[in-house]
């Protein structure tokens, strides 16, 4: 019979859970200033979606200007601000917060069998910095938005409009938010896994978040330093980047890219984690190469600190230094390739249930691989000399950022939507939305490879007339992408009115978040289960003990798998 240690309260679940994990009662504490990671995750998602729409509209302004070689939609100066803000918003206010703050907060604690993250109040502060910093960023439009690209190289950025100062402050603030999240998540995943969940029994989405956390709190701080230096140089004249007083513009490039290269891995590794969850569920097969996928995420994360200068090949750096950066950049393709092959092998021979998340995951495999290949080409120094600053680079990073990050997020939203809301979305519309997005995305960005190879430079409001046809093609395709995005939001809103109620596990998945109701209760699990195996063994019984055990029964704590001590 189950034993209970002396002095520990027992009783029906709610009395006990009210003692150890009480639910808030006021509207403000439930939905506005909530410390619940699930609510915070949804708050990140809503805020990120709003910034995605704004940044997307900035992109459409860019594309509309580029309909003709000497477009007159906006002035050249405004054009510079528009693409600078499009890039800054997408990188720091859409992709990073959504992949870490939204998906990480909502899914990761449940997947490790925890009730919340390690530091829930820190989580709350980290979230609320996000919308405040976003408002600061966009308010720069009122006083002259930054215009030197999201990379803001000096000396141009030193002479930039006043909004550049607000840009420095906004990105610095959201960097603090990122750092807090990284520390919070790492402690959570290290210390709060359910009993029995050794590292090699963690879901791959958790492995991905785990690999991302060092990037969040180590790399981001380096960016903060660079931004603060730019700010004090602009405002107080402190000469870090001014060659006349002993500084160097190349210093900014080193400091900026030391962060921003790991940042692009922050923007993709959690996406890899999402794909690793979606594919086995819809292929009804164990993930192929679990350990290789897990360890390759860590390898990519560590290697990412050593390749930053591949963004600086044309900056005048000495040739002997270009070689190691080129080689390590190419080497990073190996763990990435391992994942791609493992995912393909996961699908191979599976009885694939082609629902919308699976379609997006398959689309991801195609477009992300494509983007990874063009990245490999750019790693080659002689090719980079030719393509740096052209639309080839723009094509590359949109293939990995949209074709990789955004597509994986679409997969993740469709996948976890029933869990978050308790509603199914309209499957037919979802599939339509996928195809329109996939086709329109490729139509928009494939021509940019050719434009780049032909020599069209990026970040310029006008272009040589020979490039017009493909620019128009890309622009009209981008309008279709915009329509697909509108359809996406329609599908989500429609699910609240017409969506079927979802049960706990509509996809038949095996990770812990699918073992509780949809939407999940405040406390996630009535009892923290013990975990016996990794979650991908389709066909075997679920590897969890004690999910629905009677209240007062012995429950293991992470301090000891073999000698369970009741936590309540």
């Amino acid at each position: 019979m189950a034993t209970v240690a002396p002095g520990v309260p027992t009783g029906p679940y709610h009395a006990v859970l009210d003692h150890i994990h009480p639910e808030p009662t006021s509207f403000i504490r439930k939905y506005i200033f909530s410390i619940d990671a699930k609510v915070i995750g949804i708050q990140y998602m809503i805020t990120g979606a709003i910034f995605f729409v704004i940044a997307g509209m900035l992109a459409e302004i860019i594309r509309t200007q580029l309909l003709s070689p000497h477009g007159a939609i906006i002035s050249a100066a405004t054009y510079n601000s528009v693409y600078s803000m499009h890039g800054s918003a997408m990188v720091w206010f859409v992709v990073i917060p959504l992949l870490t703050g939204a998906f990480g907060n909502f899914v990761m604690p449940m997947q490790i069998g925890a009730r919340d993250v390690a530091f829930p109040w820190l989580n709350l502060v980290a979230f609320w910095i996000f919308p405040v910093a976003g408002v600061i960023l966009f308010s720069s439009f009122l006083i002259g938005a930054p215009d030197a690209g999201w990379t803001e190289y000096p000396p141009i950025s030193l002479q930039g409009p006043p909004g550049t100062n607000l840009w420095c402050v906004a990105v610095f603030l959201i960097g603090i938010s990122s750092t807090m999240t990284g520390i919070n998540f790492l402690v959570t995943m290290y210390k709060m896994r359910a009993p029995g969940m050794t590292f090699t029994r963690m879901p791959l989405f958790v492995w991905a978040q785990f690999a991302t956390t060092p990037l969040l709190f180590i790399a981001t701080t380096a960016l903060g330093a660079a931004l603060a230096a730019l700010f004090i140089e602009r405002v107080f004249g402190v000469p870090f980047y001014d060659p006349k007083r002993g500084g160097s513009p190349v210093l900014w490039q080193h400091m900026f890219w030391f962060y921003s290269h790991p940042a692009v891995y922050i923007m993709i590794i959690p996406g890899f984690g999402i794909i690793s969850e979606v594919l086995p569920t819809f292929a009804r097969k164990p993930i192929f190469g679990y350990k290789m996928i897990a360890f390759s995420s860590v390898a990519i994360s560590l290697l990412s600190f050593s390749v930053w200068a591949h963004h600086m090949f044309t900056s005048g750096m000495v040739p002997w230094l270009q070689l190691p950066f080129m080689i390590i950049t190419m080497v990073i393709a190996i763990p990435t390739g391992v994942k791609i092959f493992s995912w393909m092998a996961t699908l191979w021979g599976g009885s694939i249930n082609w629902k919308t998340p699976a379609l997006y995951a398959a689309g991801f495999l195609i477009t992300f691989t494509y983007g990874g290949l063009t990245g490999f080409f750019l790693a080659a120094v002689p090719l980079d000399y030719h393509e740096h600053g052209t639309y080839f680079v723009v094509a590359h990073f949109h293939y990995v950022l949209y074709g990789g990050s955004i597509m994986s997020m679409f997969a993740g939203i469709y996948y976890w939507w029933p869990k978050m809301t308790g509603r199914m979305y309209n499957e037919k519309l979802g599939q339509l939305q996928f195809w329109v997005t996939f086709i329109a995305f490729n139509a928009t960005f494939t021509p940019m490879h050719w434009l780049g190879l032909l020599g069209m430079p990026r970040r310029v409001a006008t272009y040589d007339p020979q490039f017009q046809f493909w620019n128009q093609f890309a622009t009209y395709s981008s309008y279709v992408m915009a329509l697909a995005t509108v359809l996406f939001f329609y599908i989500l809103f429609d699910s609240f009115r017409n969506g079927k109620k979802a049960g706990p596990n509509p996809w038949g998945a095996r990770t812990l978040e699918w073992m509780v109701s949809s939407p999940p209760p405040y406390y996630n699990f009535k009892k923290i289960p013990a975990v016996l195996a990794a979650p991908y063994d389709f066909g075997n019984p679920l590897p969890y003990l004690g999910l629905d055990a009677a209240p007062g029964a012995t429950e293991a704590t992470p301090t000891s798998v073999s000698h369970p001590v009741p936590t309540y």
């Binding site: 240690a5 002095g7 520990v8 003692h19 150890i20 994990h21 009480p22 410390i35 069998g113 925890a114 009730r115 919340d116 390690a118 530091f119 829930p120 109040w121 820190l122 750092t179 990284g182 520390i183 919070n184 790492l186 402690v187 290290y190 210390k191 709060m192 359910a194 709190f217 180590i218 981001t220 701080t221 380096a222 903060g224 330093a225 660079a226 230096a229 004090i232 107080f236 004249g237 402190v238 000469p239 870090f240 060659p243 007083r245 002993g246 500084g247 160097s248 210093l251 080193h254 400091m255 030391f258 923290i528 704590t557 992470p558 301090t559 001590v565 009741p566 936590t567």
Partner: protein
């Protein structure tokens, strides 16, 4: 431990002697300690970024050190005074260590004494830095890269010391109010680690600006 700090009642601090509350406390303390150490790691990265900038500019960009401005080479900083000020700060690190040791051995009187000296020496260091800033003849913060890197790095460090002094005063007040027991004193541990961290950053800065 899947119990959030916020969800556990804030009872008066007491020692549970290995019971249920102690298990929860130890797990929570472990998480807080890991979080605090990771925060210190990120702080190291912050200083390292500017240290990289200083080394890069001095080594790769500047032909002379100290730099030549308007035909005159700037003077070196005052190594003797900085050596003296450094000992003040290192001394405060030692007194802080002994303050914590005395707390662990329930010597509240000695704890109070060592905390007092730590705070005093910390303030002394800050006073010394103010003196150094007033007397440095290197062209000011915005004059050239010498001033830019020196005042930015030591200023950031001084800011960390000032925050640290505030932290220590707050911890001392909490200790007087009985928030910590002989076995539950995470705040004091965190404060000591922070203070040692600030100390060690100064070792690096002292070397980089005064001895290189």
């Amino acid at each position: 431990m899947a119990v959030s700090v916020a969800s556990h009642g804030h009872d008066a601090p007491h020692d549970d002697h290995g019971g249920h509350d102690d298990i929860i406390y130890n797990e929570t303390r472990d998480m807080r300690l890991m979080g605090f150490v990771l925060f210190l790691v990120s702080d190291v990265v912050l200083f390292s970024s500017y240290i990289f900038a200083y080394i890069y500019l001095r080594n790769s960009i500047q032909p002379n050190w100290p730099p030549i401005v308007n035909g005159h080479q700037l003077p070196r900083l005052d190594t003797a005074f900085a050596a003296f000020n450094s000992v003040v700060l290192f001394g405060s690190g030692v007194t802080m260590h002994y303050a914590l040791e005395n707390w662990k051995h329930a010597n509240k009187g000695r704890f109070n004494l060592f905390m007092f000296f730590t705070i005093l020496l910390g303030l002394g260091f800050l006073g010394g830095q103010a003196y150094e800033y007033a007397h440095a003849q290197i062209g000011g913060w915005s004059g050239n890269i010498f001033g830019a890197s020196f005042f930015t790095l030591t200023g950031m460090h001084g800011g960390h010391v000032a925050v640290g002094v505030g932290f220590l005063i707050a911890l001392w007040i909490q200790a007087q109010r009985g928030v910590y027991t002989q076995s539950k004193f995470f705040g004091l541990t965190a404060g000591t680690l922070y203070w040692h961290f600030v100390d060690v950053i100064w070792v690096v800065l002292f070397f980089l600006f005064y001895l290189w």
